[in-house]
Amino acid sequence: MDSILFALDYLFGAPIFGLGTMIGFVWKALLLLVTLLVFTAYVLLADRKIWAAVQIRRGPNVVGAFGLFQSFADLLKFVFKEPVIPAGADKAVFLLAPLVTVLLALSAWAVVPVAEGWVLADINVGILYIFAISSLGVYGIIMGGWASNSKYPFLGALRSAAQMVSYEVSIGFVIITVLLCVGSLNLTHIVIAQQEMGLAHALGVPWLTFLNWFWLPLFPMFVIFFISALAETNRPPFDLPEAESELVAGFMVEYGSTPYMMFMLGEYVAIILMCALTTILFLGGWSAPIDLPPFTWIPGAVWFVLKLSLVFFMFAMVKAFVPRYRYDQLMRLGWKVFLPISLFMVVAVAAVLQLTGWGWHGGMA
C-alpha cells in the first residue's frame, strides 16, 4: 500500500490526500475549467470574426457590442432545444460520443502549465499524457458516426479515423525531436529549457529570449507540427470528416441541440489545446520574448495567452483562405511527406545533440 501511496505522491509532486489540499485542488480545477470555457466562448467568436473579416463581412455583431455575447446566446439556444435521437440510432453510444469528445478535450488541460507553477498536475510524463489524451479524441467522432446509423456520418467517421491516426504519427515524431533537445517529458521543464539554453545564449545575447525558443532551431518541425495540428483537430483545410460540400456535416449530421454543442465545444477546446501545445513546445510557453524590464513586468500567464492567441489567429487565417484538401492528397501529405521528413529530423537532431553535446541538462535527475 505504501508503494502505491508513494507512487501517487510521486506522480502529483506533492501529497494530495489531506482534505485541505483536496479542496484546494478542486478549487483550482474549477477555476481552470471556468476560465477555459469562457476563453473558448471568445475564441469561437474570434474565429467567426476573423473568418468574416477575410471575406469582408461583419460576422456576428448583434448580441452585445460587436457581438461579444454571441457565444453565450448560442449556448442558451443549444441548451433549450430538444435533442433529437434518430430511430435507428444506438442510443447509448449516440449520447456517449459527444460526452467522450468534450471530457477528453477538457481533461488534457490538467497538465498544461499556464505560467511557472500554475499547473494542476505537474506530472513528469506531461507531454505523453497530452499525446495519449489527444489520440483518444478520435473515439468521440467514430462513436458518433457509427451510432447515428446513417451514411454520411459513417463516412465522416471513417475518414476521421484514418486521418487522425495518420497525423498522430508525425506529431509524435515532432514531439520526440523537442524531447531530445530537452531531455525531459515534463512540460514545465520544456519551457524552462527554452529559457536557459538556445541560440540567444550561443550568440551571447541571453536577453533575446525569443531566439532561444525551439521555433528557430527546429523550424521545419514547427511547420510540420502546425499543419499536423490542423489535421489532428479536423480544422480546415483538413476538415474532411465534416466536409459540408460532400458529407452535409459529416459525423455531426444527426446531432442537434446540447449533444451538438458538446461536439463543438470539445472541438474548440482541443484546438486551443493544440495552440497551447505549440506555444509550450516551440514558443517558450510563459516566458517573455525579451528578458528586459518592460516585458518582464507582464505576468507569464498573459504572455502564454498572447502566444496562444497568436497561434490561434494563424489557425483561423488558414481556415479563412486555404481550400479544402482532397482526401488522397491529405493521406499523401501525411505519409509520404511529413513522415519521412520528421523521421529524418529525429535522426538528424539526435546525431547533432550526440556529437556536439548541446541540449538541456537541467532536467537530469
Binding site: M1, S3, I4, L5, F6, A7, L8, Y10, L11, I16, F17, D90, V93, I123, N124, V125, L128, Y129, F131, A132, I133, S135, L136, V138, Y139, I142, M143, W146, F154, A157, L158, A161, A162, M164, V165, E168, G172, L185, D328, R332, A365
Partner: protein, 202 residues
Amino acid sequence: MTLPLFFFYLFSTIVIASALMVIASRNPVHSVLFLILAFVNAAGIFMLAGAEFLALILIVVYVGAVAVLFLFVVMMLDVDFGELRRGMLQYMPVGALIGIILLLELLLVAGAAYLVPEAAGSGALPIDGGIENTRALGLVLYTRYIYLFQASGLILLVAMIGAIVLTLRHKPNVKRQDVAKQTARNKATGVEVVKVESGKGL
C-alpha cells in the same frame, strides 16, 4: 480506506466488468468499446503502481491506434448477431481451458515466492524513488537489452514490409496522379495559344 486503495478497487472492478461485457454483449461494436474501457482502466492500474510511462504508452499504442483500427474493421463487418451467439456454447470449453491455463500461469508468477523460496526477490523490483521510470526504462533498454530491443524492432519492420507486399497491387488501368509532373507544368507545356480566324473554326 485510503484514496489509492479506493482507486485500485474502482479500476480493477471496471476492468473485470468490462472484460466480461466484451464477451457477453450482443453487439460486436459494443464489445470493442468495452475492450477499450478495459484498456483504459488497466492503464489506470499501471498508473497506481507507479509505472506512468507504461500506462500512457498503453493508451497511446493500444487505445489510440490499435483499437481504433479494430473498431474501424468491426464497424464495417456485417455480422449476424444470432449466428454469433449460437457459436458461443460450442467454443466455451476451449475458451475456458485457455482461461484456466492463463490463470494458472499468472498464479505461478505471483506465487512463485511461496512455492519455491529461492525465487523470492527475483520478480518485479520495487520502483527506485530517485529516478523517473521513463529514464529507468531507457537505462535498461538501451544498455543491457539493446540487441534484443533492436532485434524486436527489425522483426516489426519485417512484419510491416510483409503486410505491404501482401496487399499492394498495381492495377494497370488506374490513372494515377503524379504530383511532381503536375507542379512541373508551366505556361509553355500547359497552354497552347491558337489563332482562330472568325467563321472558320479550328
